[in-house]
Point group: C2
Chain length 380, copies 2
């Protein structure tokens, strides 16, 4: 008995807000999913992730299959029990990481064989194995296994990769169906490919719709093409996908990327940016990112962002969360610095999503987005 | 207006339990102070430290004077506000660290000049400067500045260092008095030296009592002499110090060191062991330490210690705190591993102190200590 119901509560141009109802909880959309690569959203306890407003997190098939291993996670009761997170988990298919992180990959119609970046052991990822791993992990939203090629590839190469990805999407769907009943195994999303080519994107969307998925991801963006090119693609790509299904833009992105993508009809996001930045001394604020390593913060007793409701900014008034303290922790490479900066950043992202949802409900998304862009300064 | 009142509620042979009442809170003794070297108990938020049962933490003068700097901490409102810890703080004098961590030290009757291990800048620590720094930090219990020499030194060298430490103790006391009224500046402790020589320890105690301090530390132990030699010294050293003042054994120690020292009349302890071990994969349990890197934990869904009340062991039942998960986090060098292991270890130490206090109150310390030793297995 599985459940996956997407409802749209309000729209504002192409933008939508709503909810995905699942066994393990409701996902309010537009949603940002913190990335829990190796069974942990880095530097945060699960309760701290939940308190930020995150309804769902992402787990990485590639990392978890190599360590601790999908079969081991299954023996330990699945990823939710293993890491102590009881809300929904979406798992990627490993397709992206296997190309970007592993060595000596060999691709064929069957799948991708590769050497682990951890210990050099050889593994195979195919549509069937990827779905099997995601099922072993206990994923609630499973992603189809796809093939990625460099953005600099020719249209011919991009077309061939998209077409193979569509054949793999069909095999992924079949493996998902054939996997037997599994209560945790709620939904499967297909992934649209086709790089920056509208006709390839159209063909990909058609192939996915023909197979039929619970939701549809837009893949192959945010890989170096720049915001302008990405937005140009998002001007048409979401509209090629079914309006009554969630649309998930994979690996995106910077706060202003997300605002622009929501305006263009995207419902779900994931990105390592808030967590990774938290470990490198970068804090997000509504005025733009701050580098806490900078000496100008050394005696600043103010919070990272006076408008931020996160526990770090809230405590700054009473002490312990000031820019000066965070500057000291970051400079001293203290673990607490990574903890507090990550906590703030995840709250920043989740608060932004809550504000976007409210703006859509209240019919003022354009004003909100323009105000956001006017205040938010990207680092030059 | 300062306050420092030590009361003994019960004794059991030389062991005592009681409380130190201070402006910022009550310190239940025997007390363990987690070490907050650089303005943070590593990998724990202040609220997490407090929840473990810690009534007081230790801050390091040497580290804080170099980064962020004592004058800067003072400008930012003192160490309590800077780090967001509102209970008592004891600061060491920097005497130990300056000898163990810095380069090119030059000692004289005036003090110790040294090069920072961070940036090579030259600094001077003297009794007067150490007390000034501790006042700038807003320390509640200030330690006298002392001189340490290697344990392998001759008796003549040990005697000379002890005698200089006693002259420095008198200068520390005078600087403490001369520093002007400071609400945060509640108490000063002298430090007994004299290595493993009973007559030197006796002379040192006499000199300190002659000066007069709010509490008395036993210094120069736990520096490689071994538990047997340390306990032999603790068979007489606490008795040389005033019975109505707290006795603080600096830098100790392993759980069984603490149990034996409490039996011998020590009231306060500090050690990096629970926090440092938390970052290297070692967890303390009543059966002895566990190395979580060990493959035998890889599929163990049990908690670190079924008798432990800490949030990590409590959550293990529901998932997220199992040995298997901690093994995975430690192996993967995840920050969350350091966070959870440190949290457990600090709770272990504070729970042990609570159990020791209860055993003294109930007149069953010997039985408790013998039971503890029978169960607790030190790594071989």
């Amino acid at each position: 008995m599985t459940r996956f119901a997407f409802s749209i509560h309000a729209t504002c141009g192409p933008a939508r807000t709503g909810a995905i109802e699942m066994e393990r909880g409701t996902i309010r959309t537009p949603a940002f999913m913190p990335v829990g690569t190796a069974g942990t959203v880095k530097a945060l306890r699960p309760a701290e992730v939940a308190a930020s407003g995150a309804d769902i997190i992402l787990g990485n098939t590639y990392h978890l299959m190599l360590r601790p291993g999908a079969e081991r996670v299954a023996r330990l009761g699945g990823l939710h029990a293993f890491m102590g997170w009881d809300r929904p988990i979406l798992t990627d298919s490993g397709g992206y990481q296997v190309m970007s992180l592993s060595d000596l990959t060999k691709r064929s119609e069957e799948g991708v064989s590769f050497k682990s970046h951890l210990d050099g052991s050889r593994h195979l990822l195919s549509p069937e194995r990827s779905i099997e791993i995601q099922r072993l992990l206990g994923s609630n939203i499973v992603m189809a296994f796809d093939e990625l090629v460099p953005t600099t590839s020719t249209r011919e190469v991009q077309a061939a990769a998209m077409e193979r990805s569509m054949r793999w999407a069909r095999r992924s769907r079949a493996a998902f169906e054939g996997g037997g009943a599994h209560a945790e195994h709620n939904a499967i999303f297909g992934i649209q490919q086709g790089a920056l080519d509208e006709s390839l994107r159209h063909a990909s969307a058609g192939a996915l719709i023909d197979i039929g998925f619970d939701g549809y991801a837009i893949g192959g963006l945010a890989v170096g093409e720049g915001q302008e090119a990405m937005f140009a693609c998002l001007d048409y790509a979401p509209g090629q996908l079914p309006a009554d299904r969630p649309r998930y833009l994979m690996g995106v992105g910077k706060p202003d990327d997300i605002v622009g993508a929501v305006e263009r009809g995207v419902d779900m996001f994931d990105c390592v940016m808030p967590t990774r930045s938290g470990r490198t001394g970068q804090a997000f604020t509504r005025e733009g990112p701050l580098n806490l390593r900078n000496a100008r913060h050394a005696e600043d007793t103010g919070p990272l962002d006076p408008s931020c409701p996160c526990p770090v900014c809230a405590v700054a008034v009473a002490g312990g969360g000031s820019r000066a303290y965070l500057h000291h922790l970051v400079r001293s490479q203290e673990i607490l610095g990574a903890m507090l900066m990550t906590q703030h950043n995840v709250w920043f992202y989740e608060t932004l999503m809550a504000d976007l949802r409210a703006a859509i409900v209240e019919g003022r998304l354009t004003v909100f987005a323009n105000d956001f862009r006017a205040r938010y300064t990207r680092p030059t």
